[in-house]
Amino acid sequence: MELTGAQIVVQSLKDEGVELVFGYPGGAALHIYDAFYSQEDVRHILVRHEQAATHAADGYARATGKTGVVLVTSGPGVTNAVTGIATAYMDSIPMVILTGQVPTHLIGDDAFQEVDTVGITRPCVKHNFLVRDVNDLAATMKKAFFIANSGRPGPVVVDIPKDVTAQTTHYSYPKNVRIRSYAPAHKAHAKQISRAASLLLRARKPIIYTGGGVVLSGAAKQLTTLVERLGHPCTNTLMGLGALASDHPKFLGMLGMHGTYEANMAMYECDVMLAVGARFDDRVTGDLKKFSPNAKIIHIDIDPASIGKNVSVEVPIVGDAGAALEQLLDALDHTSVEQDTDSLGQWWEQIDAWRDRDSLGYDASDEVIKPQFVVQKLHEVTLGDAYVTSDVGQHQMWAAQYYGFNKPRRWINSGGLGTMGFGLPSAMGVQLAHPEAAVACVTGEASIIMCIQELSTCRQYDLPIKIINLNNRYMGMVRQWQEFFYDRRYSHSYMDSLPDFVELASSFGHTGIRVEKPGDVEGALRDAFAQKDQLVFLDFVTDQTENVYPMIAAGAGHNEMVLKPLPDGSAPAERELA
């Protein structure tokens, strides 16, 4: 069949099974937009800013495991999208970003709305293409989808000059794709698996530490089986929450900078560590010199470059997390090595003693709304079954610490890049993927403003997202660091001249509710979630001085946590060092 380049783009999306595209039109993309006009198979969601298109596609991908698709125009369309592309890249999210480009004969001439898209996105994509010949277009689309959602997933940009979208050629979508230089490993090496099995069984103080890779690989079930088979304690990274249910008795909570005392102490003291789909990020490890000094580390990752990057590893295992964990379970069934259950019992006694410190405890109040309390109530009201997106800062950490995720793909946040403005647009992608589900965007008054224009998109497509705004009138995490490390010099972290969020929401056609008393929190949440077809903006006026605890300061080790202040209000420097 003879098609124009623009029609090939749309037809390729259909043939790829794409349901949703998030985009914003502009000159170089107009032929493609014209091809969207006369069809209904692929639904286009019109956002209000290209950054939001990428975050929405990203949220859709995180909630479903499918590839998120974005369509933007050249120049500023691309530069606006870069933040979202980099966000997806840092968290290994499968996305295909289609970008209009000026016609081929103008490339390099500083043409109107021209930017070197391939050059500007190169450091933050898994791969990118510039399609100069319409005959290469269908095959390039196929390659882009294949690369984006295989191996370690990531965003792939396809840059398409306007003249290429006008030219015609015979269309057939390739069934298969082979890229000679790209063959991601799937199964792990059997010998390494059996070494890992022996090490795990002989461990006296084991810990299983898992990250976003387990969620991406769909390996939550295998992980749970392994944890139960071995009886080992398990901690998740910020990106890995939900892989093991938060109410599982072997779950120690999140680890890292704002992880629990028991998770971080167990990391520090362990003798064998099984890391799965985690990349030893600096927010997780703290000071590498003080990182798990006695641990023999087994590291399962699909990306060989992640293994041995930050810490040296005893047993490197390259492979898909789910496949490798299944192989490991199989190896445990076929080994003669006996498990050291006595030592494991003593290890759990130690861990339970750490747990008794109740590092996530906070001082409840009848006077002022505590942000942690809002998140706990959110869990109760949604029965722990909501999709929760967040922005970046204190509210993000409280959502991670207190919501209690029991399923994978429910916790959607920008972990690697830490992008403020991510919460609302990503919630749109989640809600479009799961129209009937409860979707909450836990945010703060500073973050939500960064993509507030998307309230308009939410109105257009009737997205009944519940915005949980933990409004403390500060960029809370910045304020916290200034309190701890800059002698309380709160430089530019106070949010002055804020809008009336209730009125703001209502001007976009939504419902807004302001909540000022702790006693009203639960009722407001119940009221909001009862409105199934309405976006509700809940503006919780929260304690301005609340800090995120526990905390490992940058440059400190896992055994040097700052726990919440003593009731006498000792200064941070004098606080109990664990």
């Binding site: 391939v118 050059g119 190169r122 450091p123 898994k126 791969h127 510039l130 690369i147 890229i179 000679r180 230089s181 790209y182 990306d303 060989p304 470059a305 041995g308 990057k309 040296s312």
Partner: protein
């Protein structure tokens, strides 16, 4: 530790900048980088000389292998290999110095490839340290221009970097 990494990369626009970009973004050293087409039209061969600890070199090779445009990679320094670099020089050559320079060129098995009344153009091939030694032997004041190609390398014996 000095390493010579040989790559076969897709002969496509942008492949070079992906590789150069990787080195600059991650703060790896490049001492030299050469690239040219091969007997296979679809492939270019690249030789990168870099420095780093064992851990850094391992990361460099893993990160390079991750690039979709990198088809094959070999760390030549892991086995027996030959390295060669071409150097072109222009030196001031007047009076008694002309004979002296010619003798030095002969000792290093170089060639004088162009001559005029005041200068010689010299061609010299060899491992990088040989070229360094020649430059050390030449009086610095006489050197007018130095052009080095960067190192090319190939493994000895059975080891081959090919598809």
């Amino acid at each position: 530790m000095r390493r010579i990494i040989s790559l076969l990369v897709e002969n496509e626009p942008g492949a070079l900048s992906r590789i150069a970009g990787l080195f600059s973004a991650r703060g790896y050293n490049i001492e030299s980088l050469t690239v040219a087409p091969t007997d296979d039209d679809s492939l270019s061969r690249m030789t990168i000389v870099t420095h780093g600890s064992e851990q850094i070199i391992e990361q460099i090779t893993k990160q390079l292998n991750k690039l979709i445009d990198v088809v094959r990679l070999m760390d030549l320094t892991e086995g027996r290999h030959i390295e060669r670099e071409l150097m072109l020089l222009k030196v001031a050559a007047e009076g008694g110095a002309r004979e002296e320079i010619k003798r030095l060129v002969d000792i290093f098995r170089g060639r004088i490839i162009d001559v005029d009344g005041e200068t010689y153009a010299i061609e010299l091939t060899g491992p990088g340290d040989k070229l360094d030694a020649f430059l050390g032997a030449m009086p610095a004041a006489d050197i007018l221009e130095v052009v080095r190609s960067g190192v090319s390398g190939i493994a000895r014996g059975e080891r081959s970097l090919r598809l």
